[in-house]
Structures are given as structure tokens and as C-alpha cells.
């Protein structure tokens, strides 16, 4: 791609200070970014020479509307193609780009190596979470959480895990007609069926008419680490998580 015409080169810094996005929006935006933008711009947004999406190297665009228009129409004569996003996808993507810049301007403090040791040791995080193929799949995979969440949100999740729980992180509990109890993280649900990953990491699909009981569990199944980790340890853990930015290409 011609670096002068990459996505970042048309963005203005002021565009990224508009409305706040919720955590689910940010995650959806991250998915849109990961699937559509990283091939040219890289996971951190800085793969094109002279351009840094997270660092705020923007030139022309003043508003979110301008940015959305450039993304939707592409830049003729360059490798930047038009993208046909739904309105909610575009909103999520813009929110995510704002988050990238926030993380860049206000990097988390702490020591990532100490944070990793806590994650894999004292914190016991691998008992529920997975990072780069290591750990349990029951809880959310955190391999790219540093792309999805800003440091402030990660700290909140550690200290107050129930404060904001994205719907894709909720757990459910079902009892079959035969009395078998099935519990796990809900992956998908409609009026007739529910899909989940159970505590033995099996993908399970249940037909609701075949269930004696079914309930979506409110709140987070993760314990708060307030008082279990020192503030310095929390800072290190957050720092480690912000460095989790997906899988590198070989």
C-alpha cells in the first residue's frame, strides 16, 4: 500500500475525542478492525511506514463523519478500498480507533513481566482465561485483550468484575429433563436453542424445549481481586494485559 494514502493518513487528530463507546462496542470495533484493517495497518495500527493509527498521525479529517465517509468510499487510485460496513459496525470501529489513541497517549504503568508472573501464578488467571494457547477456555480468551480494552477498563474488570459484563461473557445454567446440569459460558442463544462452552471445554448446543430449567446467570463469575492483589500488583497485571495484542505473523 502507498503509505501516503493509507487509512491513517486521512484522519485528523481531533476526530478521536468524540463520544465514548461502551465496552461491547469497543470489542465489536476491535473485531471489525482485526478482520478488515490489520492486513495493511497491522494489529497495532502502525504497520504502514510513516503512519500510526494509535499514535495519532492524522492529516485531513476533522470529524467522525469525515472518517466514516473515507472508510466507506475508499481512496481511489490507492490500495485503500471501500468498506461496506453496517452503521453499527462503523460506529464500533470509530470507537475502537479512539481507544487505540487513548491507550497510546496514556500508556499503562507497571511491569509486564511481573504482571505475567502474577497472571500465571498468584493470580490463578489461567484457571479460567487463555492467552496464546495457554490456559482454560471457559472464560474469555485474553490473547488480544490489549487491542480491545484500554487500561482503565482492564483495571475495572480486575477490581470490579461485575461492573460491566459484555453479554458474550455471561454464563448460563441449564437442567435437562434427565436432570443433568449443564453450566458454561453462553456463546449464542435464540428463542429455541442455546450454545455454550461448558466447564469441560465442550461445545454444547441445547434445545430449550428439552430443558427443565434454563437461566442466564447475572453478573460476572470472576472474583474481585481487590484486597487479593496489592495496587502495585494490579498495575503490573494491567500492564501485562495491555501488551496482549494478538498473534504475530511468522
Amino acid at each position: 500500500m502507498n503509505s501516503h494514502f493509507a487509512l491513517a493518513s486521512i484522519l485528523a487528530g481531533s476526530v478521536l475525542c468524540a463520544q465514548q463507546s461502551s465496552l461491547p462496542d469497543l470489542e465489536a470495533g476491535a473485531r471489525v478492525f482485526e478482520a478488515n484493517c490489520t492486513t495493511c495497518h497491522g494489529a497495532a495500527g502502525d504497520a504502514v511506514q510513516g503512519i500510526d493509527l494509535a499514535g495519532g498521525k492524522f492529516k485531513r479529517v476533522a470529524t467522525d463523519e469525515d472518517l466514516a465517509r473515507f472508510i466507506a468510499k475508499g481512496i481511489p487510485g490507492t490500495a485503500m478500498p471501500p468498506f461496506e460496513f453496517l452503521p453499527r459496525q462503523m460506529t464500533s470501529l470509530l470507537g475502537y480507533l479512539r481507544g487505540l489513541r487513548e491507550s497510546s497517549l496514556h500508556p499503562a504503568a507497571g511491569d509486564p513481566a511481573r504482571g505475567q508472573a502474577l497472571f500465571e501464578g498468584k493470580g490463578g488467571c489461567l484457571g479460567c482465561h487463555r492467552v496464546n494457547g495457554k490456559g482454560s477456555r471457559l472464560g474469555p480468551d485474553l490473547s488480544d485483550i490489549g487491542l480491545i480494552r484500554p487500561a482503565s477498563a482492564l483495571e475495572q474488570s480486575i477490581l470490579e468484575p461485575g461492573a460491566v459484563v459484555p453479554p458474550e461473557y455471561l454464563f448460563c445454567r441449564a437442567v435437562t429433563r434427565e436432570g443433568v446440569i449443564v453450566t458454561g459460558r453462553r456463546l449464542n442463544e435464540d428463542p429455541h436453542t442455546v450454545q455454550l462452552i461448558d466447564t469441560k471445554e465442550r461445545l454444547v448446543s441445547l434445545s430449550k424445549p428439552d430443558l427443565r430449567e434454563y437461566a442466564l446467570l447475572t453478573g460476572s463469575q470472576m472474583p474481585s481481586y481487590r484486597g487479593r492483589l496489592t495496587s502495585e500488583e494490579v498495575t503490573d497485571l494491567v500492564k501485562f494485559l495491555t501488551t496482549r495484542k494478538g498473534i504475530a505473523t511468522r
Binding site: 479460567c128 471457559l138 498473534i247
Partner: protein
């Protein structure tokens, strides 16, 4: 902490068994409820031992659920099914995990390849491989991906080949032991083909076999001048594997440029061949070239089917292939020795075989500037879509393009990286690429599409089922002597595998460009096939 929460934390298994170890792949025939490799089993039979759907009840087949892809690209995938979960690819390179009984999604993995990929025949993907808890997929922009089968999360991503030079990965990988084996498409763009194995855990390359040998490699002498540099011999379908011999068998594509052989004097090994490689090292054990110095685009990208049969009084390990050049071949898969070849459609290029099995090429068969009429046509007597072998009927079933021709011309090719490098523009009365209209006006003299059932031992035609158009649909057979296939006429058919009698059909409203497969979920046998932009599943009521 709530009671539920505490229970969850303690219930998580610390060390869970891998779901699909290599041993399950080797013994896939013992678990017919699943479909663990691209062809169902390593031998490439595309044959299910399920028998709940029978000749008697096939007329009661009904749609169970439909998966609608979000693409207008060709949908050529054949899914895997593992313990009630279906894994399939959606063009260009998305992956989904679905409940095999309802079609509801567990997760979806989305991948947007580089926007400037170059593929001759559609931005498509044909399927996945699985080992332990990891799925493997090649991408149209030249990467091999490892994806967690439980979560849909990317585990590793390895660069295989340069898409700016039109290398692309379109076929389902083959997993053998701890290796994932793939090769690139791009035979119309002057690529230099190869097969490469990657460590399933790390994604690191373990071995590479060049299907166009370079200086110092055996076979290099079959390429005049520097023609080897753009010699083609791509890989775009999945090979087969014999665990006892530890050999993989793989068909290779056409040499480049496709239609003008003047610039590449020689046999052009290992194009339009089958190669047998040591699965651990990639070392070439033997090869057989079906079409030396191919000038008609007759890729040997058909499935090398592995069958053990009595041959002239003794049990023998055979390799059967219905080739695009119009012949049905029988080789000894231990040694590569040519045993037999018999034309299964009209052909005008071959005058027989010498004592070593080398084809005797008739005079005046090369493309000319003015154009030369040849049988079979450019799409071959068959092509990449899979055949099937049934051990019950001992028949070999071919999706055939019967008795049609192409006028082959040639022109001076110029190699420009990333651009087509074909050296000709063949013309045919039969649509080459695909049918883009629902209106069919075929002419009898223009050839036709059919299922042709051959005696697997002799190659003699046992029966034929004519379809409404030429075909891109693979074939599935089952232990109930059923045969399933589809066609560009957009029907999906169930036939009696013993005699070709039509038992059931359904109009799906889209071209069928893949091989059907079968699995069992919730005690029910399903048949699944991609058609148009959807994946359709069928069962008895």
C-alpha cells in the same frame, strides 16, 4: 463468591484431553458419525459407512437446516464434523463452528485477506483440517492459519507464499502426524509450485518439496533454459495418505504457461503428475507424470484414491486416479509402477502407453496460433471435484465431462509477476468457468455432464447417469449403496450406486461445486452439501 461461581472455578479441568489426536484421523473409518478429514478418510474414498438413509427411504429426504454464507464467491467447501460440531469455511477465509444438528453457530472466525489477491477461478476456499484442538486453513493471500477449535481464536499465522505474485492457498490442508501440509495455487500466473509441511504446534516450516525442481534437484533437467522459474505445477486440491507406507500422494497442476509449451521444452516434471513423498521428510519416493509436457491445462489435481485390491492374482496396494486428461489410471502405490490406463471419455491426444507407462503422444496435437480442436476439452474429462470409491460395489465414480472439445490456440507469453501467464486462450462450446444463468441450452454435440461408474479393477464403464449440464460437483457414496452428487443444473441427486437409478432429487437453486459429506448427530444421519451460497443438510423427515 456465589455457590455457582465457586463450583465453576473448581470444575474447570486442569488438563483436558486433546479432541482429535492423529490416531483418530488414521482410524476415522471407525467413527462414521464424524467426518474428520477433507475426504472423510485418508484414502480419499469420500465414502460414508453410515446406512440409516437407504435406497428404500431416500425418497423421504428432507431439508433439516440451511447455512447461508455471506458471500457471492464460489462456495466450494466440504465441512468437517467432530463430535456433533460442524466446522466449515465461508469464502474467502471465514471459519464457523456450527451445531451439526441445528446449524446454530458456536463461534465465527473472520479473516479479511489482502484486497489485491489474484486467483484464476474465484476467491474461494475448499476446507479445513483438524488435529487435536486446532483447525488449519490456508488463505487466498498466502497464509496458513491455526485456529482453536473450541473458541475460534487464532493460534498462529504463518506466511507460506507471496500473494502479490498470485500465490494463493485454496485447498484444505492435510494433517499427518504433527505436520500440516499445503501448497499454493497459481498455475495460470507463472508461480513455481511446492508442497510444504508445517509444525502443527508452532507453524514453523519443517520440509518443502518443489514441484518444479530447481538447479541441482532431480527433474530440473526436464525444463529448458530458465523456464522452471515460472513453471507452475501448483497445488490446489488435497492429497491422500497411506499410514502403513507413511507416504503422502498428491496431484500437481499444469505447467506454466498453460498452452504454449514452446518456451518450456522438456517433460516439465513434476507438473501434471502424482508425487509420492515421505510424510516425515518430504523426500520424493516416486512420481508418475500423466501428461508429460502438458499443453492443454490438464492439471492432475484430481484425488489420488488409495485402494487395496486383488490385481492379477495377488493383493496389491493401488492408487486410482481419474485424470483430467481423460484416462482412468491404476498405479502400484508402493513403487509408482504403471499398471493400467483406460480412457473414460473421448480423447484425441494419446496413442497408447509404452512398456514403462509413458503415454505415446499422437502427432499434431499441440495448440496452434490458429487453434486446434482436442478432446477432452480444457476442463478435462473430470477435474478437481472429488470422485468416490465404494468398497461394496467396487466401483469408482467420476464426475465426468463427456465427449466435449476445446479449440486450443496459443500466443507468445510474457511473464509479468502477478499477471496471467497462460500463452493461449482456449475456446469451447461448453461453459468453462461456471454457469451464471439459470437458463440451460446445452447441445448434445457439445458434450454433457454425467456420473460415470467404472469397474475399479478394469476401468470398464458399468453405468452412466446423465445430468442437465457439465458438472463441478463431487461424489459421495454410502454403505447403503447410495450415491449423492450435484450439478450446474442446480439439482442435488441421490442415485442407486449399483446401477445409477435416480432415487431422489431436489432443486437447490445454486451451482453445486463441492463434494457432499455425511455425518450423524442426535442419532440421525445427515447429508450435507454446499450449493450456491448455502450449505444444505438433509435427513429422513
Amino acid at each position: 463468591m456465589t455457590a455457582v461461581r465457586a463450583w465453576l472455578l473448581f470444575a474447570v479441568a486442569a488438563c483436558l484431553r486433546a479432541q482429535v489426536p492423529f490416531e483418530r484421523l488414521v482410524n476415522a473409518v471407525k467413527e462414521p458419525q464424524n467426518w474428520l478429514t477433507h475426504s472423510g478418510t485418508y484414502n480419499g474414498w469420500q465414502h460414508s459407512t453410515l446406512d440409516q438413509i437407504t435406497r428404500e427411504n431416500a425418497g423421504s429426504l428432507r431439508v433439516q437446516w440451511i447455512f447461508q454464507s455471506r458471500t457471492a464467491e464460489k462456495f466450494e467447501t466440504t465441512p468437517l464434523v467432530v463430535d456433533g460440531v460442524m466446522y466449515l469455511t465461508e469464502p474467502p477465509n471465514n471459519v464457523l463452528a456450527l451445531d451439526a444438528a441445528t446449524g446454530r453457530a458456536f463461534w465465527e472466525f473472520t479473516y479479511r485477506p489482502a484486497p489485491s489477491t489474484r486467483l484464476c477461478c474465484g476467491v474461494l476456499n475448499r476446507g479445513l483440517a483438524i488435529l487435536d484442538d486446532t483447525l488449519f486453513m490456508g488463505t487466498v493471500d498466502g497464509y496458513l492459519l491455526a485456529i482453536d477449535s473450541k473458541s475460534g481464536k487464532l493460534e498462529w499465522k504463518t506466511h507460506v507464499a507471496d500473494y502479490t505474485k498470485a500465490y494463493a492457498l485454496t485447498h484444505a490442508p492435510l494433517v499427518v502426524k504433527n505436520k500440516v501440509i499445503v501448497g499454493p495455487a497459481g498455475g495460470e500466473y507463472g508461480i513455481r509450485g511446492f508442497l510444504a509441511a508445517y509444525d502443527a504446534r508452532t507453524g514453523n516450516e519443517v520440509w518443502r518439496f518443489n514441484t518444479v525442481p530447481g538447479p541441482g534437484e532431480s527433474g530440473h533437467e526436464t525444463w529448458g533454459g530458465d523456464s522452471w522459474k515460472n513453471g507452475g505445477a501448483p497445488i490446489w486440491t488435497t492429497g491422500t495418505y497411506d499410514p502403513d507406507l507413511n507416504l503422502i500422494y498428491w496431484g500437481t497442476g499444469n505447467p506454466g504457461p498453460d498452452y504454449n509449451g514452446d518456451v518450456r521444452p522438456g517433460d516439465n516434471l513434476y507438473s501434471s503428475s502424482v508425487v509420492a513423498l515421505d510424510a516425515d521428510t518430504g523426500k520424493l519416493i516416486w512420481h508418475y507424470q500423466f501428461t508429460p509436457h502438458d499443453e492443454w491445462d490438464w492439471d492432475s489435481s484430481e484425488v489420488p484414491v488409495l485402494v487395496d485390491m486383488e490385481w492379477q492374482g495377488r493383493s496389491r496396494k493401488l492408487l486410482l486416479m481419474a485424470n483430467r486428461n481423460g484416462f482412468f489410471y491404476t498405479l502400484d502405490r508402493v513403487t509408482g509402477r504403471f499398471l493400467q490406463a483406460k480412457a473414460f471419455v473421448k480423447q484425441t491426444w494419446n496413442g497408447g502407453f509404452d512398456e514403462n507407462g509413458r503415454p505415446i503422444r499422437l502427432p499434431n496435437v499441440s495448440p496452434t496460433k490458429e487453434g486446434r480442436v482436442m478432446f477432452p476439452g480444457q476442463q478435462g474429462g473430470t477435474n478437481w471435484y472429488n470422485p468416490s470409491y465404494s468398497p461394496r460395489t467396487e466401483m469408482f465414480y467420476i464426475p465426468a465431462w463427456v465427449d466435449y472439445y476445446t479449440t486450443y490456440n496459443k500466443f507468445e507469453p510474457e511473464y509479468v509477476p502477478g499477471r496471467q501467464y497462460t500463452g493461449g486462450a482456449p475456446r469451447s462450446d461448453v461453459l468453462g468457468g461456471s454457469r451464471d444463468t439459470r437458463l440451460i441450452h446445452t447441445r448434445v454435440e457439445g458434450g454433457y455432464g454425467a456420473v460415470r461408474a467404472l469397474d475399479a479393477l478394469t476401468g470398464e464403464l458399468r453405468w452412466e447417469f446423465k445430468m442437465g449440464d457439465v458438472t463441478d460437483g463431487g461424489i459421495l457414496t454410502t454403505a447403503a449403496d447410495l450415491l449423492f452428487t450435484g450439478n450446474r443444473d442446480q439439482y442435488f441427486y441421490a442415485l442407486d450406486a449399483r446401477n445409477g437409478a435416480l432415487l431422489w432429487k431436489i432443486y437447490l437453486g445454486g451451482n453445486i461445486r463441492s463434494g457432499a459429506m455425511s455425518y450423524q448427530a442426535g442419532g440421525k444421519q445427515y447429508i450435507a452439501v454446499a450449493a450456491g451460497s448455502g450449505l444444505f443438510t438433509f435427513a429422513i423427515r
